[in-house]
């Protein structure tokens, strides 16, 4: 039996549905809430729900609703693996509608492919060995809102990141099955989303990675996220997943991969998109396109996911904190916290990752010397010895790669 609460919820949902019918028909529909499925006004249940709402939590912060760009506040990312409905969305265009998984296919071709070959989704699942890896995806522009002078684009705070268990096949296995010529330099992807302008010939985004990255063990073509279908907004039914690179390389609604004999030149590979100045520049500097270089690694970074900022505790208590740290290097070697604005740093406990490019849990129990306002800062160091800065890292025109320490505010009373 369903609980009363669940029933009440069903009733509430039915009521809103009926209220909206009434507004369409122009009068109340008597006994409307009992209307059987077959009688619903045509077009009401044809899967044409605006895709911006499917499968996502209403706790997400929506930066833009057309195209959908939404992120999670830090404390909503506390799970070991980010739940599908909390995973950030960075859409550049309009996701495909009426996806038919039975007809979905992936074509591999390009100058450096030995042949052009097409696999159905079913063939991918049966022909190749399947793997499940925990991989962190972070938008290149995560943290953009902090840059000064302001950088262009969606003003992400800290939530355009997540780590999920992705199931699929190794990209390398599929590329080898097609055959790679020795002159291969890059791979590029094409997806089934459509351009905002409505121009069917325009690609929304078509990026990729160097061939070496494509051949890494952790580079995947995935159809499942945390054991479930990938949410439509995150690329259902098929996408690429590359840890350690800007998430824009991990093409969604994947239908084609090209093996290129040159650096891929698709939409958003050129100009200033997903590029930073090759040499450091002063804040606000004008940088020519030819002086911009493609981002090929995401920096070491961490996020305090517990407690939520704004906690008040008693001076007799120790504050438990925890969070995640991630990097494009092999692993995180150290996470530290500071409660005196970086004056002194103390080690956190750090767990190992299941595999490379998975985020790692850290935790600590913090004593405070006296009452007052504190900020807890966290900074991670990776196996390359790279460490997070506590002020903003190098300014760049599009505001990428902000890995400054995360901070939460605490009051001790």
């Amino acid at each position: 039996m369903k609980s009363e609460k669940a029933k009440g919820r069903r009733k509430f949902m039915k009521n809103t549905i009926m209220a909206s019918f009434s507004s369409i028909v122009g009068m109340p529909i008597v006994f409307g809430s009992n209307m059987p499925k077959e009688l619903l006004p045509i077009g009401f249940f044809d899967g044409s729900l605006p895709p911006d709402l499917i499968g996502k939590s209403n706790l997400l912060t929506v930066l833009n609703d057309r195209p959908v760009n939404a992120e999670a506040a830090a404390h909503l990312l506390d799970d070991d693996l980010t739940p599908n409905d909390m995973f950030f969305v960075r859409n550049n265009g309009i996701p495909p509608v009426n996806v038919d998984v039975n007809k979905w296919s992936l074509t591999i071709e390009g100058e450096s492919a030995k042949q052009s070959k097409t696999y159905t989704l079913q063939e991918l699942k049966t022909k190749f060995k399947q793997y499940t890896l925990n991989l962190t995806l972070e938008c290149g522009g995560n943290g953009r809102s902090e840059f000064n002078p302001p950088a262009k684009g969606n003003q992400w705070s800290t939530g355009a990141v997540g780590c999920a268990a992705w199931t699929g096949v190794r990209l390398a296995d599929v590329l080898r099955d097609v055959g790679i010529k020795s002159n291969a330099v890059y791979i590029g992807y094409y997806g089934e989303d459509t351009h905002l302008s409505g121009d069917a010939k325009k690609n929304t985004i078509s990026r990729g990675v160097p061939i070496n990255k494509a051949m890494e063990e952790e580079s995947m073509i995935a159809w499942s996220m945390n054991g479930k279908d990938i949410p439509l907004l995150n690329g259902y039914p098929l996408r690429l997943v590359f840890g350690g690179y800007p998430a824009s390389c991990s093409g969604k609604w994947l239908s084609k991969i090209v093996i290129r004999d040159r650096v891929h030149d698709g939409q958003k590979m050129k100009g200033k998109s997903y590029r930073v100045p090759c040499k450091p520049v002063a804040p606000g500097a004008k940088v020519k396109d030819e002086d911009m270089c493609i981002i090929e690694k995401m920096p070491v970074k961490s996020l305090i996911t517990y407690p939520k900022t704004g906690a008040t505790i008693k001076s007799t208590e120790k504050l438990p904190i925890r969070g995640h740290a991630w990097t494009s290097a092999d692993s995180i070697s150290k996470v530290e916290y500071s409660i005196d604005f970086g004056g002194s740093w103390h080690p956190c406990e750090l767990k190992n990752a299941k595999n490379r490019y998975a985020w790692q849990r850290f935790s600590a129990k913090i004593p405070f010397p006296e009452e007052g306002y504190y900020e807890v800062w966290a900074r991670a160091t990776d196996s390359n010895g790279d460490r997070q800065p506590i002020i903003l890292p190098g300014w760049n025109p599009k505001g990428y790669l902000n890995n400054a320490s995360h901070r939460i505010a605490i009051k001790v009373i």
């Binding site: 069903r10 949902m13 039915k14 809103t16 549905i17 009926m18 209220a19 909206s20 507004s23 369409i24 006994f31 009992n34 059987p36 499925k37 077959e38 009401f44 249940f45 729900l49 605006p50 709402l53 929506v62 930066l63 833009n64 609703d65 057309r66 195209p67 902090e146 000064n148 002078p149 302001p150 262009k152 684009g153 969606n154 351009h195 905002l196 302008s197 121009d199 325009k202 939409q267 100009g271 200033k272 517990y306 407690p307 900022t309 704004g310 906690a311 008040t312 505790i313 208590e317 120790k318 504050l319 438990p320 925890r322 306002y373 506590i390 002020i391 903003l392 901070r407 505010a409 009051k411």
Partner: protein, 183 residues
């Protein structure tokens, strides 16, 4: 024959009037009985119909869609409402030239992508040029200076130093119960 015919006419009229009356009474009775019947049987009938229930997911989708269309209705009523200098539907600052901005800048993406950003006039110009070169934005003609003036006026950069303070006023302070959290 004639006489009889003359007599028949009033007879025929009376008969059809009578049958109309009877039909009306029958129909009314039918409706009353029907309604009573329906009210009596409503429960059981609904039970049968409800066997084809929605799953919770389906209901949730429907209800979200319904809320959308309801809020769309509301939106229509408040199409160009301005509160505290903000055009509610788009989130843009109100201005005599707002219509030009809305017409030029909200067809591909929502106004939210614009209002999130801050830049100098030159910075805004460079975004427009980028959209024209790569995203299919047409030449804005005489509107361009109007739009640039508008954007540079309301969405100019604010100096924030090398790193902003945490926005302490915006924090929702709460008491953390530490015993509940030992994980």
């Amino acid at each position: 024959m004639r006489a009889r015919n003359k007599n028949e006419k009033p007879n025929g009229a009376r008969a059809s009037l009578w049958s109309l009356l009877l039909n009306t009474i029958y129909f009314t009775l039918f409706c009353i009985v029907g309604c009573i019947g329906y009210f009596l049987l409503e429960g059981p009938i609904n039970d049968i119909i409800n066997q084809k229930k929605y799953s919770d997911e389906e209901l949730e989708l429907l209800s979200k869609k319904a809320m959308m269309s309801l809020s769309l209705e509301k939106e229509k009523a408040n199409w160009d409402k301005v509160v505290d200098g903000i055009h509610i539907r788009t989130g843009f600052y109100d201005d005599p030239n707002l219509k030009t901005v809305i017409a030029s800048c909200t067809s591909c993406h929502s106004a939210k992508l614009v209002t999130q950003n801050r830049a100098t006039r030159a910075g805004w110009k460079s975004m427009i040029v980028w959209m024209q070169e790569t995203q299919g934005l047409p030449d804005l003609g005489k509107s361009e200076p109007i739009i640039l003036d508008y954007l540079a006026k309301y969405y100019a950069p604010k100096a924030t130093g090398r790193r902003k303070n945490i926005d302490v006023d915006a924090i929702d302070w709460y008491v953390l119960n530490i015993d509940d959290t030992s994980q």
